[in-house]
Subunit: 335 residues, 2 copies
């Protein structure tokens, strides 16, 4: 009998639970609101209810490989204990893994959502074609998350804090970041960073067009991108600045890690055409390892190596918002 | 019968060959000038002559585990083919591993010298006390080299170019680097970078004291350090700038990799007392992962963890100029 696994994507807005075959084809999905106000125990209970429903509907024809949960960080691993996730107020210190295992009486694999997404992109998304086993994924959402997969396994660092690429300093005299640092990548390349830069331009009175689309919800980025698409020079400059900061952060990563694949995901990545040219230009200027290994524009292979081998690729994510859910379902196979 | 191994440190000035027990106690050493002018084949022949002499003197009482060579980069791995090492002119494209194996009729392990040094520091130097298996070492010499050890093994990246931490961009509007990039760490934290900054100060007429010690040989850094030790504010500022750039680069590394140990070696590290305070201040400000995991000044343990566990340490190298040679001798055991 073939196997299946259950993946959970614990978001600040929605709780998504999916069942997947061993080839990671989705065979079941439930989406419910995350009842953050009801507290972590209630959310864990909701999670277990949906997990059990999906397990029952799949267990006739397949055997359960295991259950994986992708959670917002900070997250202490391997304990699976939450830190203080900004979009899950009241969850600080919650024993996510232990609580779920007690409720389900089954082992549960818990992972950072950005690491789960990286695992899925590596195995079934942008890493699939070249069978990559190492990659770095940057997820440009409200903040900038990151996941590092090295030789097929998530790199956690010594206490699960690896992958904080959103807090690589890219601008020594940049503004203060919520992390306490200064000039972090996240201040330029996240949705909130783009919003901040656009607000600064609008407040300086330089761009009535930008001022007219500024809002505090997620549609701001979409509206700003629309403005840039219609040729507004200052809206374009905001995305270029996001691209340059990504290029600088990637330059450091490429020079230090020499990975074959860097993937840009998250909602902001939908504006790829607006920020990628500046990102690639900055990366090319700042990283000589990239210049030595970039794809040859005509053949897709790097300088002096066989096609696809030894090439550094920087690409948009392929799996979209499903990456986190699918990656969570991969955890029982990866561990 | 216990084993021994031979390590080779191929430098631009000296060729050092050492024999080591399996516990990496040195039991033999030869130092000869590197006859760069005679070409790579002659240098390989010299190397083999010294290796054979040491093998003969040790082989009575021990069995040979293998031979390891630490070489300046760029170096293509696993082929063991040299790129164009700046201090080995005329060696570009030289098949170092293949040539040595043909001459000796024995397998030879070739590695970047900075990676060999990192391996030695991890196993027998600053990583020994806490039995670290992962660390990053920055070697501040003429340039800034780096070696990354992850789970006990050197991380090479996809084609041996990993560890170019000297070319992490730390200053977006910084000067051009010889790598083609801009504002690289190496421009601030290497001997040549410190020389450059001091020259700029002296040329601007701001520091007759600095001008008087400027020279083009290695003693400049020593003389500058002496000036700083005697309280010269501008000489101090040069080392502070080196420290701040190291702190910024380390902040990115700590946030992305979450390793337990970062080691600063190379000749410039002798001025630790002059640059480390600014380095630690910048690292603390820019890396929240560091702030969460730094040693507690009173107990030496990190916040909320058992002593030595889960702590990020940034320390000077312990092994000095022997690290590269010892690390080369470790390669036959590590591979």
């Amino acid at each position: 009998m073939s196997s299946f696994s259950i993946g959970v994507d614990l978001g600040g807005t929605n709780l998504r639970v999916g069942a997947f075959t061993s080839k990671f084809e989705r065979i079941g999905l439930s989406t419910t609101p995350t009842r953050v106000f009801a507290g972590p125990e209630a959310v864990a209970r909701d999670m277990c209810d949906e997990i059990v429903k999906l397990m029952r509907s799949c267990a006739d024809s397949r055997t359960l490989q295991g259950i994986g949960v992708g959670s917002p960080g900070p997250l202490e691993l391997p304990a699976g204990r939450l830190g203080a996730p900004p979009n899950l107020p009241g969850f600080e210190g919650f024993e996510l893994k232990q609580t779920l295992e007690n409720m389900l009486q089954l082992p549960v694999h818990v992972e950072h959502d950005s690491n789960a997404a990286a695992l899925a992109e590596c195995h079934s998304g942008s890493g699939k074609e070249h069978h990559e086993t190492s990659m770095c994924m940057l997820t440009l959402g409200t903040g900038v998350g990151a996941g590092l997969v090295l030789d097929g396994r998530v790199w956690h660092g010594m206490n699960g804090m690896a992958g904080e690429a959103g807090h690589i300093p890219v601008e020594p005299r940049g503004p203060r970041c919520s992390c306490g640092g200064r000039g972090c990548l996240e201040l330029y390349a996240s949705a909130s960073g783009i919003h901040r830069m656009a607000t600064e331009l609008a407040s300086a009175g330089n761009s009535p067009a930008i001022f007219s689309v500024l809002d505090h919800d997620a549609s701001t980025i979409l509206a700003l991108a629309g403005l840039a698409d219609r040729g507004d020079a200052q809206a374009c400059e905001v995305f270029c600045q996001a691209g340059r900061s990504l290029g600088a952060a990637l330059a450091g990563l490429v020079n230090v890690l020499n990975l074959p694949l860097y993937v840009i995901g998250g909602g902001v990545a939908n504006a790829w055409h607006l920020f990628a040219p500046a990102m690639m230009e900055e990366l090319t200027e700042l990283s000589y390892v990239y210049r030595l290994t970039r794809p040859n524009p005509s053949t897709g292979s790097s300088n002096g190596t066989a096609a696809g081998r030894g090439t550094t690729r920087v690409v948009p994510a392929l799996l979209g918002s499903d990456a986190g859910l699918m990656g969570a379902a991969m955890l029982p196979y990866a561990n």
